[in-house]
């Protein structure tokens, strides 16, 4: 009998921190039974399970990447709580909320928030990112998605120092901005 190749919680966290996507598969499978049974017992259908579970894995991935997760609880417990949250949110969908946020725009007085942007625009940004080149994409993703600081990005991408990264990141963002604005006019906003 071959040894079961499952990672424990700590190993999972390390794998995700190192960007090993295979860890996502384990996250998915480990949490499938509990989340499936929860969703089915709460007015969900089987196809919802897959959806919620995928989103749960992504939220977990992001939390771990951003170092927002301390392993005080079992990953399964955390995953369950996240899935439950996502599911309840889905059930309350009347509000037609986008599931994307991540921005810390907390003040309600701000007229700008994630809900004001449409998915299509976000897709356009995605396409433009692809045009930027791998280095730029990596820097922007590390900075804006994973929330890494300049020093860590320098280490991950083997840049000399944080200042070089800062300059490069600025250049990349500027490029993205320029491309985006060549497609949209100011009046579009």
């Amino acid at each position: 009998m071959l040894k079961k190749n499952t990672l424990n919680d700590q190993q999972l966290v390390t794998a995700i921190q190192n960007g090993k996507k295979e860890a996502m598969i384990q996250l998915y499978k480990d949490n499938y039974p509990a989340i499936r049974s929860y969703i089915l017992k709460n007015n969900g259908r089987l196809e919802d399970v897959d959806d919620i579970l995928q989103d749960t894995c992504i939220v977990l991935w992001e939390k771990i990447k951003r170092n927002e997760l301390e392993l005080k609880a079992k990953i399964k417990t955390i995953a369950f709580a996240i899935a439950k949250n996502l599911w309840l949110k889905r059930l309350n969908k009347a509000s037609r909320m986008q599931s994307i946020s991540g921005l810390n725009v907390d003040s309600e007085k701000m007229s700008v928030n994630a809900d004001n942007f449409n998915q299509l625009d976000l897709k356009v940004v995605g396409q433009m990112l692809d045009l930027l080149g791998e280095k730029c994409k990596a820097i922007l993703s590390l900075f804006y998605y994973e929330g890494q600081d300049m020093q860590s990005i320098a280490e991950i991408l083997s840049y000399n120092n944080a200042d070089t990264v800062k300059a490069k990141k600025h250049q990349c963002f500027k490029q993205l901005q320029t491309q985006f604005l060549s497609r949209y006019k100011r009046s579009d906003f």
Binding site: K4, K89, L103, N104, D115, Q119, V125, H170, R186
Partner: protein, 326 residues
């Protein structure tokens, strides 16, 4: 439009909450008065969201490619079978390769076996999954109409977690108020309230569902058993839940009178309590019990699940003491 480099840095600082309170206020004020800056910030936000969305899409695509689909039950079984056959074949081929190479170079065995374990594992996991689902922790179901409250034991949330508040070691009735926490604003959109959280997107404060308040009221009739259970539960789970709940919002019901319950939401992150309008109530901890004060009324935490139940405090002396300690 002219985009200034310093603006991006400013936006980054705002986004990453690296601004001081004054800087933040100044920035928010500037956004209101300077329409160019506002537009610039909107574009910035869209680009950032776009970057994030792109990453999420890539992860989803990866999951989609590497997982057998898990929808309808019949399909599921078919997939499992196909997978086992495919896996057996792969294993067989793998073994053949190993066996063929083995005599020439014994070391290659070690190398060749490496890719196979994950494959085997994925199948065994797949095969066992349906049965695992059936073995999932039993639901705590108290009464039949309590369906909405039936919760897996994994999410049985004790409210009496320490969080950032220091525990009252003296054990006396010196209640601690939680004044210094920053309150998050509630947002209102299409009939629903929600709180924005930095990490977990938007958390909707769902409105009460009559079913759960009904069962809560019933539960209140015999609260003693729950109270007795909760201390040991808290002891074992305290540290475990401490962190998870930082980004959680839970709803709870307060039994206002015989049959009247009101739903409130408790935000673990800010330790604030909200009803369906923007107002905050105070949560106290004294003598290892949690109390909630709303105006001149004090409620004691009876038990807590995904829904928590507070009931009116009968002990007038204690009530006065708590109110005065505010």
């Amino acid at each position: 439009m002219d985009y200034k480099p310093e603006h991006i840095e400013q936006f980054d600082a705002y986004l990453k909450q690296a601004m001081s309170a004054e800087e933040r206020l100044a920035f928010e004020k500037a956004l209101k008065t300077d329409s160019d800056l506002k537009t610039e910030f909107e574009v910035y936000q869209l680009l950032v969201l776009g970057i994030q969305a792109q990453e999420r899409a890539a992860l989803k695509a990866y999951l989609g490619e590497h997982l057998p689909h898990m929808p309808q039950k019949p399909k599921w079984q078919v997939y499992t079978k196909v997978w086992s056959i495919a896996a057996s074949l792969a294993l067989l081929i793998g073994l053949l390769i190993i066996l063929q190479r083995a005599p020439s170079n014994p070391q290659s065995i070690a190398i060749e076996t490496l890719p196979t374990p994950p494959l085997i594992d994925s199948i065994s996991t797949l095969n066992t999954e349906p049965s695992q689902a059936e073995q999932a922790p039993p639901q705590i179901t108290i009464t039949k109409d309590q369906k909405t409250l039936a919760v897996d034991e994994t999410i049985d949330i004790p409210l009496a977690i320490e969080s950032n508040i220091e525990q009252d070691q003296a054990g006396s009735v010196s209640a601690e108020s939680i004044d210094d926490v920053v309150q998050k604003p509630l947002h209102y959109r299409s009939k629903d309230w929600f709180i924005k959280d930095s990490s977990l997107a938007v958390l909707i404060v769902s409105t009460d569902n009559t079913e759960s308040s009904k069962s809560l009221s019933k539960k209140a009739a015999a609260p003693q058993t729950d109270q007795a259970k909760s201390p040991e539960k808290n002891a074992t789970n305290k540290s475990e839940y401490d962190k998870v709940l930082n980004a959680e919002v839970i709803n709870f019901n307060v039994l206002m009178s015989e049959d009247e319950t009101e739903t409130y939401t408790f935000d673990y992150k800010t330790l604030s309590i909200y009803q369906n309008h923007i107002s905050t109530y105070k949560l106290y901890k004294a003598d290892n019990k949690w109390y909630l004060s709303i105006g001149n009324d004090v409620f004691i935490l009876e038990y807590c699940n995904t829904n928590c139940l507070f009931v009116s405090l009968k002990d007038q002396t204690l009530k006065q003491e708590l109110l005065q300690s505010k």
